[in-house]
């Protein structure tokens, strides 16, 4: 009965088994519950046509019970305010899971039950997983599950998902409801008495016209709430005259939706009053104490920089050496294998496999340790609850670029590598902010580009090397800010995305949750971007090898020669510099390796930088470095951008933008520089 949403046979979902949907607001520990139920029996993909992550898995009980588990995106309500909310709602209505498990945070029960009230109004069979009782307890909040169960009329199971307590009971309760749906008799949330007549009037107008499988009473409620999607659906479904009547009625009660939200909270208040004991007023909690530092405008910034410093330190001391070791080991092993297997094969085939395919594999492997460290840090910070604080502290600055405070973390970590910066943009819920962050990420100078800069700058400039290098990094950041502000003003018309964000209570991170976060994200990089990297790696090899014999006589070199007139505008008379730039698309550090080949000097040779400097005038040296710093994102970053946005247009926009910017900067620097030095003579 379940449709597979990936459009391909899913590795995990079992045909014919009952389906349980996991639903909950953000920060309730829902993914921990999901991980405890499914373990590694899970599949992470995307919702069809969406960039929102879809997780599904299988639960296998002791007595042969098999259940399909679908983890719905975190959602505050069933109003279609965001893509996540629309996905969760559409799944419940169209796929009709046998039962839903609503995970709620006992420490913020009142607000969490808002979603439960909406689910009950939809008529979705439901059990409640009352999670984070330990966290609530730490904050002096006492919840009585039995009282809550009696009030709501649905099973309420106390759980501490992080310690795997009560999760089995929860899934058993859900399975029991799925077996005997007739026994499930919830208390339906009531709306305020003064709204009952208008709700009845709406319902009688739409009776018989509501498309399947939408429940009529729920559609009436959503119309009164002014839900744009449901309103459009009914406009299409109703006869014109009835629609006019309905529209008039809804206009008269335009502000009903605020009352409905208020009414729901009143209903919730009545439900929880007996079940919850609040802490005495004035008690200072652990979260408040930590937040005095973590959310302070100044101390919070210092803490954020410390946290990021540790992240970088981990990357450089653990990930980078491991990455080098891994890629050389893997490359050596694969090269030996290729030599053994393809000994008799033509030279071009051996070249394609050895220098194209295997180097592509090496590139993918070189990223793995960096990504693992990055995702471990990000996952742990998110699970602890710190990520939202960092975003809060940075929001006032990111705001200027039309970005959410959450954009800061991935962009900053882009200094290490742009690939995790693009992947990390997933933490930004709003699509607009996410896409703008992805567009800006390649402008953050990554380690590979900084290495090229560090290699060439000392030979290029006899004095002020540090100043020039800092200036070039500064140029990138200024360009980034300027593009952010410009895109925000032009493409998004300066419309600020509303900054409303929940700050979760701090808690100890769960190893399994963080571990699976790292595993799923790294795996998805290998599977999606990895394939593109391999294909492109072979294409780049072919371009730089044919017709041959060396790169000097390749298509790439011919293309480089063709582009010399353009290069001349930047003072780059030598086609070899242009080819070096072109191969930097493969990986930024390739700039040096290519120059080494073309200048007939080893990439390690200190003479190389001097030799390159010799063919360039002083303004052209600066121009060349500026182009290197701003040039198009590398292959791995480009592949990741395509996979994360699923948009070739946006990927092309990212390439076109950086290409235009780098050429513009190169030409400006060279022309102004030449004019200045000419006037001094």
């Amino acid at each position: 009965m379940m449709h597979d949403h990936d459009g391909s046979p899913s590795a995990t979902l079992v045909a014919g088994a009952r389906t349980i949907a996991l639903i909950g607001q953000p920060n309730v520990g829902k993914s921990t519950v999901f991980n405890m139920i499914t373990g590694l029996n899970q599949h992470v993909g995307n919702w069809p046509g969406k960039t929102v992550e879809k997780k599904s898995g299988v639960f296998r009980g002791q007595n042969g019970v098999v259940l399909n588990i679908v983890d719905l995106p975190g959602t505050y309500s069933l109003t279609a305010n965001s893509e996540e909310e629309r996905i969760a709602r559409d799944f419940l209505i169209h796929e009709r899971p046998d039962v839903a498990i609503a995970v709620v945070n006992a420490a913020a029960l009142e607000r969490n039950l808002y979603l439960v009230a909406e689910l009950l109004a939809l008529g979705q069979p439901l059990v409640l997983g009352l999670n984070m009782l330990d966290v609530a307890d730490q904050h002096g909040i006492r919840v009585e599950p039995h009282v809550l169960q009696a009030a709501l009329g649905i099973p309420v199971i106390p759980i501490i998902a992080a310690k795997n307590q009560g999760v089995r009971e929860l899934i058993e309760a859900a399975a029991a409801v799925a077996e005997r749906p007739g026994d499930w008799k919830p208390v339906r949330p009531a709306i305020r008495p003064e709204h009952e007549p208008v709700l009845a009037a709406v319902q009688s107008l739409i009776a018989g016209h509501v498309p399947r499988p939408y429940p009529e009473d729920w559609v009436a409620l959503k119309l009164l709430e002014g839900d744009a999607e449901i309103t459009a659906m009914m406009e299409a479904a109703l006869p014109a005259e009835t629609w006019q009547q309905l529209r008039g009625l809804l206009r008269e009660h335009e502000d009903a939706y605020l009352d409905i939200a208020g009414g729901r909270y009143e209903w919730i208040g009545r439900m929880v009053r007996a079940a919850v004991t609040q802490p005495r007023a004035g008690a200072i909690t652990l979260t408040e104490r930590i937040d005095r530092v973590a959310t302070h405008p100044l101390a919070g910034l210092v803490l954020l920089l410390l946290v990021l410093g540790v992240a970088f330190w981990l990357t450089y001391t653990v990930a980078t050496p491991l990455a080098e070791w891994l890629s050389t080991q893997v490359l050596a092993a694969l090269d030996a294998l290729a030599a053994a297997l393809l000994g008799a094969a033509p030279a071009w085939l051996f070249g394609l496999v050895s220098d194209g395919l295997i180097h592509g594999v090496g590139t993918v492997f070189a990223f793995l340790p960096i990504l693992v460290v990055f995702f471990a840090v990000l996952g742990a910070l998110e699970d602890i609850g710190y990520l939202a604080r960092g975003a809060y502290v940075m929001d006032r600055f990111m705001h200027l670029m039309g970005l959410h405070g959450k954009s800061f973390m991935p962009l900053f970590l882009g200094f290490g590598c742009n690939v995790p910066a693009v992947l990390g943009s997933r933490i930004i819920e709003e699509r607009r902010g996410r896409w703008l962050t992805i567009l800006l990420a390649p402008l953050v100078p990554c380690t590979a580009r900084l290495a090229v800069l560090a290699f060439l700058a000392p030979a290029f400039f006899s004095t002020g090397t540090t100043l020039v290098s800092l200036g070039l990094v500064g140029l990138n950041l200024i360009v980034l800010a300027a593009i952010g502000i410009a895109v925000n003003q032009i493409a998004f018309r300066g419309e600020q995305s509303a900054f409303i964000m929940e700050l979760p209570l701090y808690h100890v991170p769960n190893l399994r949750t963080v571990g699976l976060y790292v595993w799923n994200n790294t795996l998805s990089f290998v599977r999606k971007a990895g394939t593109l990297i391999l294909l492109a790696s072979m294409a780049v090899w072919a371009l730089s090898s044919f017709p041959g014999p060396g790169i000097n006589d390749s298509v790439l070199a011919a293309f480089g020669r063709l582009l010399t007139p353009l290069g001349r505008l930047m003072g780059l008379d030598d086609w070899r510099l242009i080819v070096a730039l072109l191969t930097s698309f493969f990986a930024k550090e390739n700039t040096i390796a290519t120059l080494g080949i073309l200048f007939n000097l080893g990439a390690e040779s200190p003479d190389l930088a001097t030799a390159v400097a010799a063919v360039l005038a002083a303004p052209a040296r600066l121009a060349f470095l500026a182009v290197v710093m701003l040039f198009i994102p590398c292959l791995a970053t480009t592949a990741t951008i395509q996979q994360e946005t699923r948009s070739w247009r946006w990927t092309a926009a990212a390439i076109g933008l950086t290409l235009a910017l780098s050429l513009l900067a190169g030409i400006l620097i060279y022309q102004v520089g030449s004019a200045l030095s000419a006037s001094q003579l």
Partner: protein
């Protein structure tokens, strides 16, 4: 600072003070979003942090929520807010 009708924007409440939500201003999407989060008329909101510029922190229905200054300006609260000593 205080309007004649006794309502003032949440962004003007100092840290440590409480207010009762009277009304939400702004676009429908914004109002619906904050209402779902618990910002409904009659709810008590406590200001946890407000430096007079940049975003602020409030506590509502047991949850800590960060709000941009512009967003906080669109939430009208009762002026007879009580203050506690911190």
């Amino acid at each position: 600072m205080t309007g004649s009708n006794g309502a003032r924007p949440l962004s003007e409440l100092p840290a440590g003070s409480e207010g009762i939500i009277l009304e939400l201003l702004g676009g429908r999407g914004f109002r619906s979003r904050v209402a779902n989060l618990g910002f409904t008329a009659g709810a008590t909101v406590k200001v946890m942090q407000n430096y007079g510029h940049g975003p602020m922190l409030v506590s509502i229905r047991g949850t800590l929520v960060a709000l941009g200054r512009r967003e906080a300006g669109q939430v009208l609260v009762s002026a007879d807010a009580k203050s506690d000593e911190r």
